[in-house]
């Protein structure tokens, strides 16, 4: 595998495909699989480079492409999708959500898999009800493809880093225009409209989440009730009209060549931050600095969490950690908007102590600072772990209207 670079990240599509396919086949060998049958869109994209469509789930799944990877074949099979320009063995479209279509899919899989369909070890990520009803792969030894896919996704190749970098840089540029449109009296739908237009102008077809511009109640007790007794974010907020001084937590994710961005910022409508709001931001910066410092290959997840927690400990009399309890300090990003590694989740301290950072992991840092009554600050930054530390992805984005102290 090529090493993560320190210079410019340029996508080489051919190399992206070759390296992923080689990793996938090697992992299948390690997991003792004869074949992989993949229906989940990001998994299909990983195996074939047939990119997922960013639309409603029912539409995406109705006649979704299916990938089949055989341990001894030099290219994957792609059932449906658009095989033009891909290095795949093309097969007809399947309709796995309806019984007639699933039966056809079963016949196609039997033909592709041959003897493997009868007692071979087949990893699969999902079956539709129609596939279960029509007995698809009922004679194979079925196992879950989750472990195999999880293993190959964990460390990114240089081209995967390039895709994430591009997704993030383009999302950042789109958001710069959106922030200019945030004036008192504007609606959430108007900001969403600017964002979706600007993403298209940046060459991004795939908006992956319904973009969030959530006005935050200054006191948790005034916000939605939660199972954690803490903040509700990102919650549904309808189509609010923003007023001067509204504190808005922003979250967005788009996709470049199958890889997700993750944009997070805190904005204030129509005025500079108060000194209390600015203090929350500075606490957030201190947590980020301590986290960056702790990110080196070999560091345990627990060590990074401890460094982040220590940086804000003076402001946390109850020993709370500077991130939202239903989330994490860090999540990974790649073909999914949140994937391993997860640091500081409800998997608990033993999990965090048992896992370490490794080169090629991509980390989205998203601490959140909350000062009840004042409000809080939350933003996200993406880095890739390298052999000797980390590099930022996405090219950076200002923290306006907050000021970074000199």
């Amino acid at each position: 595998m090529s090493k993560p670079p320190t210079g410019t990240l340029e996508l080489d599509v051919g190399r992206l495909r070759r390296e992923r396919y080689a990793k996938l086949q090697a992992q299948m060998g390690a997991d003792g699989l004869d074949a992989l049958v993949l229906l989940h869109g990001p998994h299909v994209a990983y195996a074939t480079d047939c990119l997922p469509i960013a639309a409603d789930a029912t539409h995406v799944s109705a006649n979704r492409p299916v990938a089949v990877v055989l341990a001894d074949q030099s290219q994957p099979c792609l059932l449906g999708g658009d095989p033009d320009g891909l290095d795949v063995d093309p097969h007809p479209t399947a309709w796995p959500d309806i019984d007639e279509g699933a039966a056809d899919l079963g016949a196609q899989l039997d033909a592709i898999l041959g003897r493997i369909a009868h007692g071979g070890r087949v990893g699969i990520d999902l079956m539709t009800g129609a596939m279960r009803r029509t007995g698809v792969l009922s004679a194979a030894h079925i196992t879950d493809a989750a472990n195999t896919m999880g293993a190959v996704k964990l460390h990114k190749t240089v081209d995967e880093l390039a895709c994430i970098h591009q997704a993030q840089a383009r999302t950042n540029r789109a958001m710069a225009t959106v922030q200019e449109a945030l004036v008192p009296g504007v609606r959430r739908s108007e900001l969403a409209a600017v964002f979706l237009r600007r993403l298209r102008e940046e060459g991004i077809d795939a908006n992956m989440i319904d973009v969030i511009f959530q006005p935050m109640a200054r006191r948790m007790a005034d916000g939605p009730r939660t199972t954690t007794g803490h903040l509700a974010f990102p919650a549904w907020s309808g189509d609010p009209v923003y007023a001067e001084g509204d504190l808005i937590w922003v979250d967005a994710g788009s996709d470049y060549h199958g890889y997700a961005s993750d944009f997070g910022r805190t904005w204030v409508a129509g005025r500079p931050p108060t000194s209390g709001e600015q203090r929350c931001f500075e606490r957030w910066l201190a947590v980020m600095d301590a986290s960056y410092e702790a990110i080196v290959p070999g560091a345990t997840f627990a060590e990074v969490c401890a460094a982040a927690t220590a940086a804000d400990a003076a402001h946390q009399p109850d020993g709370e950690r500077p991130w939202m309890p239903h989330f994490y300090l860090v999540h990974g990003v790649g073909i999914e908007s949140a994937e391993m590694p997860f640091l500081g989740t409800d998997n608990g301290p033993d999990f965090d102590a048992a896992h370490t950072l490794e080169p090629g992991m991509v980390l989205v840092l998203e601490p959140a600072i909350w000062d009840d009554g004042t409000g809080g600050y939350r933003a996200e930054e993406i880095v890739a772990v390298t052999e000797d530390g980390w590099i930022p992805l996405g090219g950076g984005h200002p923290y306006d209207p907050f000021e970074v102290p000199t």
Binding site: D56, A130, I142, D144, A146, M208, T345
Partner: protein, 313 residues
């Protein structure tokens, strides 16, 4: 009764008739249908996981949501499960679900080997059966308020189509203008992939859980002679897939259900020959002949089909 409770009654009745004790749902459309909750929209299908459980006998629901914002009042905070990253917590919650341990039939709307193993562990006496077809059958015909919601979504999609047809420039620029117009009109969530290809445009959106959409060709024929006109006219109660094949034009065509997204029946040149249309179904009807493409969202009535998407653009 509020719309989501009317829908839930339909789902519960269908599941009860199918002999299901507990539903474990992971598909957002099924979850929206049953709960009426507004949850974060993400593009594409998610892996199968237990997002919502429904005890068919008692009606008790547990929903994966860390907050009550967007969740109807009939599901209280103590029936919300906060988001978790921990498989052991998922197991404990399912195991603690009243009725799970003694269930004899657990219905699922998708399946994976990992989830099947988990469900077999928490419901050791249960058969795990797919019930996506049961739920989709309950959803096939639409309640009056659902038809209104679909009509409203169609109007939003029409704004996008109009913008794409009116806007000068490259396809990419027209598409950018169209998605902007759609968001301003009330939906930032596309149902299908938006399409602008020269004179051909097609837009659909999800607005308040329901899909509406339409497709047009700039400079195309008037409505009564568009490529899908004969297919629409054939969408009457009792029409079979075979009848619709006979009404279809030469070329590509598709009839499929339209509600909370892409739904059965699916009728095209390959599938759905034995489907039978019913009054109160809402269908997306599309066809291409030569260079012209058209699609509309259509309500099957006791007489002439009603087009829910606007005639213009």
């Amino acid at each position: 009764m509020s719309l989501h409770l009317q829908r839930r009654t339909r789902a519960v009745d269908a599941l009860a008739a199918a002999g299901i004790d507990i539903l474990v749902a992971g598909r957002q459309d099924h979850i929206n249908y049953i709960t009426g909750a507004h949850q974060l929209w993400t593009a594409g299908a998610r892996p199968f996981g237990p997002v919502c459980t429904l005890n068919v006998a008692t009606g008790e629901i547990f929903l994966l949501s860390t907050w009550d914002e967007g969740v109807p009042d009939d599901i209280d905070l103590d029936h919300l499960h906060g988001i978790t990253w921990n498989g052991a917590i998922i197991y404990q919650r399912l195991a603690a679900n009243p009725g799970m341990a003694n269930a004899t039939t657990v219905g699922v709307d998708a399946w994976s080997p990992g989830m099947a193993g988990l469900l077999s562990a928490v419901a050791p006496n249960a058969e795990i059966v797919p019930v996506d077809d049961v739920l989709l059958r309950a959803r096939r015909t639409k309640l009056p308020s659902e038809v209104d919601a679909i009509r409203a979504a169609c109007a939003v999609a029409a704004e996008a189509a109009e913008a794409a047809l009116a806007h000068p420039g490259t396809d990419a620029k027209r598409l950018a203008a169209a998605v902007e117009a759609m968001a301003l009109a009330g939906s930032s969530t596309p149902a299908a992939e938006p399409r602008v290809h020269g004179p051909v445009v097609d837009f659909s959106c999800i607005r308040s859980h329901y899909e509406g959409g339409l497709g047009r060709t700039a400079g195309g024929a008037p409505p009564e002679v568009r490529p899908h006109a004969a297919l629409i006219a054939a969408c009457v109660p009792g029409a079979t897939g075979q009848d619709l094949r006979q009404a279809a034009p030469e070329g590509d065509w598709l009839i499929r259900g339209n509600g909370m997204g892409f739904e059965p029946p699916v009728i095209n040149p390959h599938y759905g020959k034995s489907e039978v249309l019913e009054e109160h179904m809402v269908l997306s009807v599309s066809a291409s002949t030569g260079e012209e493409y058209a699609r509309d969202t259509v309500l099957v009535t006791e007489s002439t089909p009603e087009i829910l998407s606007s005639e213009e653009p």
